[in-house]
């Protein structure tokens, strides 16, 4: 009886050991921390894949991050990654890679579709990876090794979202969001543009894509307005030119809502609510006319935002999702998508901004 019990216990314990089978140890893996895809202008091997591989180190300190960069050209991304394995001694592990950089030339000449097919098909790539356009190419962004990194690759992903810096100029695009925008009717992809600037990354612009290829690049000021009106990003600024210095509102809270009003000749209404404190202002300006300043700042912002909206509309892209909103309003009835495609190039925009200033800071 005891022998039988013992046997069953031992066989159950043996099952636990099975979990270790066919598994590679962590010290036999290379952790990819960022990956870049470029266009090589070689028709036989058009894709240039660059991977930054972290070298595990026992100490964690600023500037102590060690990594190597490997690059290879191949007819497709999948083949390139397989080929890259021949140049390294450990198994490549993409589970921790959250930065994918598409070279500007690739996005303009070949489009994002082929890269997206590979990225979404791979099971180990996180859906919350950050995708961006690398300028001038992905290679230069991937091979930069900033001095401030505590461990390899963390500098780049801290730039996005609100994990590290909360920059209002940085558009955050996750993989699942980009994939949704790639297929959705009436909602177009938008990507941040990352460049290299004095041993650091500079991610202050955005590219608007017509599904596959880049159509429009926004400058940093426009990116800021886009971020506020489209994503409702917090911790932004609102500037109004004034003498002797500009009035700057540090917006702590921004909310944006899109709506389509009117039946036959719809107007796209964007309602923006901004709350914040004055960060820079001529003395005594706020107490002279509190409500008036709020209104003036709102009008100024609406004007800027409308200019941006018309610019985006004329480029033929729809990153705000007005088209999707229109279809949802009309229950995707037959012919409404064609009707929207006729409407959109002539649509009028109206931005209604309500600014609420909560104070002038510590001084009057």
């Amino acid at each position: 009886m005891i022998g039988k019990r013992l046997l069953s216990v031992v066989s159950c314990l043996a099952l636990l050991v099975l979990g270790g089978c066919q598994l590679k140890d962590i010290d036999k893996r290379y952790f990819v921390v960022s990956a870049g895809f470029d266009y090589s202008n070689n028709t036989a091997k058009p894709y240039r894949v660059t991977l930054r591989l972290a070298l595990p180190s026992s100490k964690v300190e600023e500037g102590g991050a060690m990594s190597v960069v490997q690059t290879v050209d191949a007819p497709s991304i999948a083949e390139a990654v397989r080929h890259l394995k021949a140049t390294v001694d450990k198994e490549l592990e993409f589970g921790h890679c959250r930065e994918f950089i598409l070279g500007r030339e690739l996005v303009e000449k070949d489009g994002i579709d082929t890269s997206m097919q590979w990225l979404t098909r791979r099971r180990d790539i996180q859906s919350v990876s950050n995708i961006m356009i690398g300028e001038p190419d992905a290679l230069s962004v991937v091979s930069l090794k900033p001095k401030s990194e505590r461990y390899p690759g963390n500098s780049l992903f801290l730039s996005f979202g609100n994990e590290g810096t909360e920059s209002a100029h940085t558009v955050t695009t996750y993989l699942f969001d980009l994939y949704r925008r790639l297929y959705e009717t009436g909602l177009d992809p938008v990507l941040p543009v990352a460049g290299v600037f004095q041993d650091a990354y500079k991610i202050d612009r955005a590219a608007m894509l017509n599904k596959n290829k880049a159509k429009l690049y926004l400058d940093p000021e426009e990116t800021l307005i886009f971020n506020m009106t489209s994503f409702g990003v917090n911790n932004t600024i609102l500037v109004m030119p004034d003498k002797p210095i500009n009035v700057v509102l540090a917006a702590t809270n921004t909310k944006a809502k899109i709506d389509l009003k009117g039946g036959k000749d719809p107007v796209a209404v964007v309602q923006v609510k901004i709350e914040g404190f004055l960060e820079q202002s001529p003395p005594f300006l706020l107490e002279q006319d509190w409500g008036g300043l709020e209104r003036k700042m709102g009008e100024h912002f609406s004007e800027q935002a409308e200019r941006l909206l018309y610019k985006i509309r004329d480029a033929g892209v729809d990153p705000y999702g007005f088209g999707l909103h229109y279809l949802a309003d009309h229950h995707n009835a037959k012919g409404s998508w064609e009707k929207w495609n006729r409407l959109y190039p002539q649509i009028r925009f109206e931005v209604r901004t309500s600014v609420s200033i909560q104070g002038s800071g510590l001084i009057r």
Binding site: L18, C21, F176, Y179, R180, E184, A328
Partner: protein, 384 residues
């Protein structure tokens, strides 16, 4: 005691993701998925009310014992065997899809039979226990994982990345289309937790009142709508149709920034390991008991301390079937099999509902073949 009934309702509601219900619904999202929801809610609620009302009038009796009261032995055995087939195949399909999903996301390098073996061993152990143990295991596992699963679901519902325009579009367009039958069958699964009462009614005391039954449509509708609309909100109306493991990818789109691990996916899959274990345990145990009920000498015991060897043999056969199924099928065939199972299940359920109403009528008229057996031991099995 009534809580055990609602545990089944709750866990089957959450379990629909592993039985590929969202996959079926989402693949029909533009042709009749949404309009089948109201029908499914009505049918699911009515069925739950009927089963609970009927079984309340047969306290302490499982479905095989009720068959024995009214039907000739050969017919009762046939019906029992149909029950065995429906319940056991559910466990087989879920076990396979679970090991497949885990093989893809957790441990891609290992053989998929390895995942299956580990999970099947656990299910084998759990399902062979006595009914009382199974019920307690069910309670413990459900209490551990349901708060976290609800947390993930609510995190997804309140996420700022959820696109309400896409949800409005699918809902607005879908409700205007005629309902799709496949979607209707799939959607009623969310409500079919009440079917577990067919066996576990043996454990219910005579004075059990089914209170709070109005919560059933609310719980069911909540899980149905969440498991259909949240993936659409995250992946858009078009791209959502491209994903095979739609809920795994949806939870992967969430982030726990300050969590122990950032990918919600791993937490989600771990929780669904528990739920799958629960589901397979319940289905195999039910199938096993129904099979044993076909024998003449069988007594419906619920509290055995030492389970009979036949339990092991039946469950080993079921585990073996799962391996054979895994060997001969692949993911695509499994999806078709799951769809077929969802359809067949609905018909069997409907037939059972009619039968139960007939039994209730026969009981009132006194057309019983045999007397109601006296309650078997309920002292926890501690006595001789």
């Amino acid at each position: 005691m009534i809580r055990y009934y609602y545990y089944h309702i709750l866990y089957v509601g959450m379990m629909n993701i592993m039985v590929l219900v969202p996959y079926v619904l989402i693949s029909h999202r533009f042709n009749g998925a949404v309009s089948s929801f109201p029908l499914a809610i009505v049918f699911g609620t009515v069925y739950s009310f009927v089963t609970s009302a009927v079984f309340q009038r047969f306290p302490g009796l499982g479905l095989p014992e009720i068959y024995k009261l009214f039907l000739p032995v050969w017919l009762a055995n046939c019906l029992n065997l149909i029950g065995v087939a429906v319940w056991s195949t559910a466990g087989v399909i879920v076990l396979f899809s679970y090991s497949n999903t885990v093989g893809i996301f957790f441990n891609p390098e290992a053989s998929s039979y390895l995942n299956l073996a580990i999970m099947a061993a656990a299910c084998l152990w759990a399902a062979t226990r006595s009914s009382r143990s199974v019920q307690f295991t069910h309670e413990i596992l459900l209490i551990i994982c349901s708060p976290l699963i609800l947390w993930i679901l609510f995190k997804a519902v309140f996420s700022s990345w959820l696109d309400w325009d896409a949800i409005r579009l699918v809902a607005g367009e879908g409700i205007r289309k005629p309902p799709s039958m496949t979607c209707f069958f799939a959607a009623t699964f969310v409500f079919s937790g009440h079917m577990n009462i067919t066996l576990f009614n043996r454990l219910n005391p005579g004075n059990l009142k089914f209170r709070l039954r109005w919560t059933i449509p609310i719980i069911g509708a909540f899980f149905l709508l969440v498991s259909f609309f949240v993936p659409i909100g995250f992946h858009g109306t078009q791209a959502v149709g491209n994903y095979l493991y739609v809920w795994s990818v949806t939870t992967d789109s969430l982030m726990m920034k300050y969590g122990f691990i950032q990918r919600v996916l791993y937490l989600f899959l771990l929780l669904y390991t528990f739920l799958s274990l629960l589901f397979v345990m319940n289905t195999w145990h039910t199938g096993m008991e129904f099979f044993k009920a076909c024998f003449k000498r069988y007594k419906p015991l619920t509290d055995e301390v030492n389970v009979p060897a036949i339990n092991w043999w039946i469950c080993v056969v079921l585990a073996g079937t799962t391996f054979a199924y895994a060997y001969f099928t692949n993911d695509m065939i499994n999806r078709v099999a799951a769809e077929v199972w969802l359809t067949v299940r609905f018909f069997i359920e409907s037939i059972l509902i009619v039968l139960l109403l007939v039994f209730l009528f026969m009981k009132k008229k006194g057309y019983q073949r045999r007397p109601i057996p006296s309650r078997t031991q309920t002292n926890g099995g501690a006595g001789p």
